[in-house]
């Protein structure tokens, strides 16, 4: 093998990731963002620092002073907001988000068991992977992120027929529908879904993403709104819930997704 000692690797590559590594710690950021109340603070920190085993005890303790709804909104979701911020700044990686979401989910389930009626969520999203496509990791990540941002998710799984997507949207009446596909010849199901939904008079944003999917393609059929990463899902959903229809989402896409690229 060649002797590589004389190679000055600064002339070959630059490690921008290490150069740009954040100096801020999760503890510092959480210290500024978590609630002040000690009981809610503890719950939010359980989520931020992924203390899965502590969640049930801390939520149970807080239920003596707070309603289940308040614990979800001001404790668990606040914790998840911190996690989202840490991820956005590149301090946390995706697995941190997934494990924190597991911790939050545990707390939410306990709170829901103490509620009289069903929990009011921010909105409902129907999710699927295109017919003939078994690649579902992106959809699964997006589902976790949407749930941890307060949305209820109807997960239809993978390799889902166009007619099944349309029937589920009709019966579930979600605010959004999503589709993911890895391949060029499976993403062609998306325009068919959009067309069939329009025929039924349904006109909600249809967020589409995946390996071969691109913005120009998604914007070539009605209702289609592109997402390049799973983390953009909650941002687009929040905008839709805030009143933006699919045309507005397309118009404002660059602005909405700028921070989440």
């Amino acid at each position: 093998m060649l002797d590589l000692k004389s190679v000055n690797y600064d002339r070959v590559l630059r490690r921008y990731d290490i150069q740009m590594e954040s100096k801020e710690t999760p503890e510092e950021l959480a210290g500024r963002m978590v609630p002040k109340d000690p009981l809610l603070k503890k719950i939010a920190e359980d989520v931020v620092f992924m203390r899965y085993k502590n969640v049930n005890d801390d939520v149970t303790a807080a239920l003596k002073n707070f309603s289940p709804e308040d614990i979800i909104e001001q404790g668990l979701i606040k914790g998840m907001d911190v996690v989202g911020e840490l991820y956005g700044r590149g301090i946390y990686y995706l697995p941190h988000v997934m494990v924190a979401a597991d911790a939050m989910d545990r707390g939410v389930k306990l709170c829901e068991s103490k509620m009289k009626g069903a929990r009011e969520t921010r909105g409902k999203v129907v999710m699927h992977v295109a017919e003939g496509d078994p690649h579902d990791i992106g959809k699964n990540i997006a589902a976790v992120l949407l749930k941890s941002n307060g949305y209820s998710v109807v997960d239809m799984g993978r390799d889902v027929a166009v007619s099944d997507v349309v029937a589920t949207v009709e019966s579930e009446k979600p605010q959004l529908v999503t589709g993911t596909a890895l391949m060029t010849t499976t993403m062609s199901a998306f325009p068919k879904v959009a067309e069939r939904l329009q025929e039924k008079g349904i006109n909600i944003p249809f967020i589409c993403a995946g390996g071969a999917v691109n913005r120009a393609y998604v914007e070539s059929y009605p209702m289609g709104v592109y997402a390049s990463k799973a983390i953009q899902g909650p941002t687009l959903a929040n905008a839709a819930i805030g009143g933006a229809d699919w045309r507005k989402l397309r118009e404002n896409w660059d602005k909405l997704t700028a921070a989440k690229e």
Partner: protein, 467 residues
Amino acid sequence: MALKRYTRMEYGSPDEMVFGEAKYPVSYGLGQTVGAGMVVPEINFAPRPGAEKNPETLRREYVDYITKDILDRAITLGFPAVQLENEHIFQMVNDPEKFEKPVVAGQKELMQKYHDEYGIALSIRHTIADPRLAEEGLRPGMDKKHSYPEKTIEAFEVAAANGADLLSVETMGGKEVADYAILRQDVRGWLFGIGYLGSLDMEWIWPQIVEIAKKNKIRAGGDTNCAGANTSMFMAGGYLDKDIPRTFSAVTRAIASARTLVAWEAGATGPDKDCGYEGPILKSIAGKPTAQEGKNCQCAHADLMGNLIAQVCDLWSNESVEYHPEFGGSSVQCWLGSIGYEAALMNTAKQLKQDKLLRDMYMATDRYRCPEAFILAYDNAYKIGQAIVENGNDIYLRSKAAGMTAARLIEEENKAGKLKLSKHEQDMLRKIITDLSALPDEESKFVDQCLKAYKDIPMFNPKNYGL
């Protein structure tokens, strides 16, 4: 059919490995020989959305447009040998007689015409889609909804009988567990999913593929852990990405190599699949030809080892490109030019007896670009190969040994200061070493442990693996 496990290295040292030469070259197709002193470009393609509308639109896209464009450009640029790869789309496996047969036959007919007219060496790899769903069942008789396991085998038969020269597949076994584990950075779960369950799934399907190839007097090539290790690699991404740490991705690649080896143990001859970046490890063990992709597959994806991964290749691929027009012709013509000229550079280096120098230059440019590139540098790939063959008869222990060897190699080089790691990459590396060290030494204990720990993973059904 019994599997022939590898318990010794076919190469005596890493330095014996170089691009364009394998211990066991393979001949097939229309005058094609791979691994016998020449690197052959392998061009891969995807039809445009909508081409799958009906069997005739799909045949026209693949045969009249894509294949003809490729063959014309190969002659135009004077390439002596070209391999085509058709990665089958869902429709071709879902209804092989209608969608697959006319495409396979049509491509071969056209290739024969160019071979007869110009004498160009040509071959085609057909990579059958694996649509099997863990939630429905991976083995025959289990999937009552789609019959995907039966259709997958049928698609191999149809391809083999109608013009395929080389059969491949990207099997998906264990992916449901690996996907769960990757999102939680759980190396034990990933080892169970790919190193163990993935190997079991390959032990089921690959003897069948080899038999089909033998029956039709063609070649069974090899597999790739695209579904697992490439998911890791793409999520780890480049320097702007923060989805998973690249140390995790590197270790999963090493584990995947112990699994992808099963195809060759079942009797496949190589070359393996281009997107299996574990190829250098496999080649070091078995001496069979490997297909690789890197800098000339930017049409499909970016990776951090574009040059390095050419170091010991026998086929040089573009991974895949959607068929569309470019300034320089159609996309398949442009990317054939790109891989074909790179192969010409390698072949000229061989003629000038400078191939090992070029190999080392390829390797040196990316050796420290990321941990995955580092462990795949041919000297390190060889060490991982050694760890696998030392435990060659045990699919669990060899997967574990491959992962641990990769982790230790990264740790040592990071301490030496050349391979830089971010803080999170370092943290993850320590966790991986701790987690792997804590695993039992016996397969049965490991399996019991994992069946308990992962029983609630959605879609995971031990029956899919005969457990």
